[in-house]
């Protein structure tokens, strides 16, 4: 059994950024394990541009963005193993993986969870109807088109206004498919405003809010869908049904952190994020197991994934060197208008960045962090959208006790 300082599970943007940053902090006995044949994760199929504005101050396509980190991994000769699937992580940081060489085990001082997320599927939505071919999640359609050179559609309907769905609306249109409409069950879009503009409006693709698909038709291949309006409790309104003939339904209905391995390791998950509960060091409840990126909470921008993983790596490097990290006994609670925060616990001994999402659109508000009623940090928002992650910095010298921090919208 090989001993490693750090085993990184996943070679996507979070894993790559963590590896490079660990290396820079002097931690060299690292191994990245990646189940695909290539490093880069989902960015390999995200060929559109718009990545990198925060991290690199320039706009890049997904493959180029991943390529920058991959080049650093190569230049630093950071060890990685592709075509290798991690099967188990134990709470004492024994990592079991399988590759073409067979079963391998690593004993790690620290494990970094960087497995990313999965798409929510038709099964999770429970849309009634037949089960024909032609119903794809947006990411699957994207892989067909951008990785395997397969055109999956001619007449398309999209359910869900997630960013990948809108990006696929444009991509399918550019390749000659006809995208009839995007339907969103919620009263507000779930993706970024810029994607509504440049992926839908630019190509005359209508977006219908408060609508959902209530039936799927077709025996071998999809022949059409029934669309209904929904009421304020998101229930379909009888009598509003409309039929759309199509051969393909693309689903862009949410992403779920991929935490099966984390659960095996004894990591406590937060039901709100479906990712781990972490402290300001991105350490989970299991000492020496860290998580960052989409496995922790779904991000809208890869730049923030990389930057979060880099912060994680700074803490993980310090953990490997010192064998411990400061305790984080201060809990962070939220009011009902905030969906969740990352981290959920802090030490109070160092400045930290709070990431959060609101549950619904709130105009002209302030996000306020209080301890014992005393305001210790705030951010003014002209418009707070669930689609946009909000970040603010909390200074250590403003935290005066170990009492909980309350985050409110005011």
């Amino acid at each position: 059994m090989e001993k490693k300082d750090v085993v990184i599970v996943g070679g996507g943007p979070a894993g790559l950024a963590a590896a490079v940053e660990l290396y820079k902090k002097g931690i060299r006995n690292i191994l990245i394990l990646e189940r695909e044949h290539h490093l880069g994760g989902i960015l390999r199929q995200c060929i559109h541009d718009g990545f990198g504005l925060s991290r690199f101050q320039t706009t890049l396509s997904g493959p180029e963005y991943a390529g920058r980190f991959m080049k650093e991994v190569m230049d630093c000769q950071i060890p990685f193993q592709t075509d290798t699937t991690v099967l188990d992580i134990s709470s004492n940081k024994l990592v079991t993986a399988v590759s073409r060489d067979g079963l391998v085990q690593y004993e790690a001082k620290a494990v970094i969870l960087a497995m990313g997320c999965r798409e929510r599927t038709r099964g999770a939505l429970g849309i009634p109807g037949e089960r024909p071919a032609g119903v794809f999640t947006a990411g699957v359609a994207q892989a067909y088109m951008n990785l395997y050179n397969r055109m999956p559609a001619k007449e398309v309907v999209i359910l869900g206004s997630g960013d990948i769905g809108m990006i696929m609306a444009r991509r399918l249109t550019l390749e000659g498919a006809h995208v009839q409409a995007v339907f969103e069950v919620q009263p507000i879009p779930s993706g970024l405003p810029r994607n509504i503009e440049q992926c839908l409006n630019d190509y005359g693709i209508p977006l219908y809010l408060n609508h959902t698909i209530t039936k799927i038709h077709g025996s071998s291949r999809l022949t059409g869908v029934t669309v209904s309006q929904v009421d304020s409790s998101l229930k379909p309104i009888p009598g509003t049904e409309k039929e759309y003939a199509c051969d393909t339904l693309i689903l862009s209905v949410g992403l779920i952190p991929e935490n099966e391995l984390s659960i095996d390791a004894g990591v406590t998950l937060d039901p709100r994020t479906k990712g781990a509960v972490v402290d300001e060091h991105f350490q989970t409840n299991v000492e020496g197991i860290f998580a960052a990126g989409n496995v922790l909470h779904v991000h809208d921008l890869v730049d923030f994934v990389s930057m979060e993983a880099e912060k994680l790596a700074d803490s993980a490097a310090s953990y490997v060197s010192n064998g411990t990290l400061p305790d984080c006994p201060i809990e962070i609670t939220t009011d009902s208008r905030i969906g969740h925060t990352i981290p959920q616990k802090v030490s109070g001994a160092q400045d930290f960045q709070l990431s959060l999402r609101v549950r619904s659109l709130i105009k002209n508000c302030r996000i306020v962090v209080r301890q014992n009623g005393q305001e210790i940090a705030s951010k003014r928002m002209k418009k707070a959208l669930p689609a946009e992650m909000i970040q603010l910095t909390v200074k250590a010298d403003s935290i005066l006790s170990l009492d909980k921090l309350e985050v409110n919208v005011e």
Binding site: R44, H48, L60, G67, L174, E197
Partner: protein, 128 residues
């Protein structure tokens, strides 16, 4: 006339209200950086967009190499640019950063490869 814009330059997606007379910008609110003003002026006179797509690769470990334009071109030229890019085919290996076509349709914009595709025979072994 007041026209609304959603700035697409960065993920903030500022919602801009612009007062426009005879297609000339008089005043605007809602933008949070100078790029917003430049975007609205560009939208009024010559709206431009970037596009990303792929080209075929023969003998590669992948069938496609992704490409993009180095700068945006007029919006109404996007499908014409797609046709031109579609006619390009490459032989592996292909290096990210390679310029495939300079000044597409006469604009100051090049078609650039964004993904390295190795030849099928020199695929790296599973362990490095």
């Amino acid at each position: 006339m007041i026209r609304e814009f959603t700035c697409i330059i960065c993920p903030n997606g500022c919602e801009i209200q612009a007062e426009i007379h005879d297609n000339v910008l008089v005043s605007m609110t809602g933008h949070t950086c100078p790029k917003g003003e430049a975007y609205v002026k560009q939208e009024l006179t010559d709206p431009r967009r970037n596009i990303a797509t792929s080209v075929l690769v023969k003998g590669g470990e992948l069938p496609l190499a992704s490409v993009r334009l180095t700068s945006p071109i007029p919006k109404d030229q996007i499908f014409a640019a797609m046709e031109i890019i579609k006619s390009i085919s490459l032989t592996a290996p292909v290096q990210a950063g390679t310029i495939l076509l300079k000044n597409i349709l006469g604009y100051d914009s090049d078609v650039i490869v964004t993904k390295t595709v190795n030849a099928a025979y020199d695929v790296a072994p599973a362990t490095l």
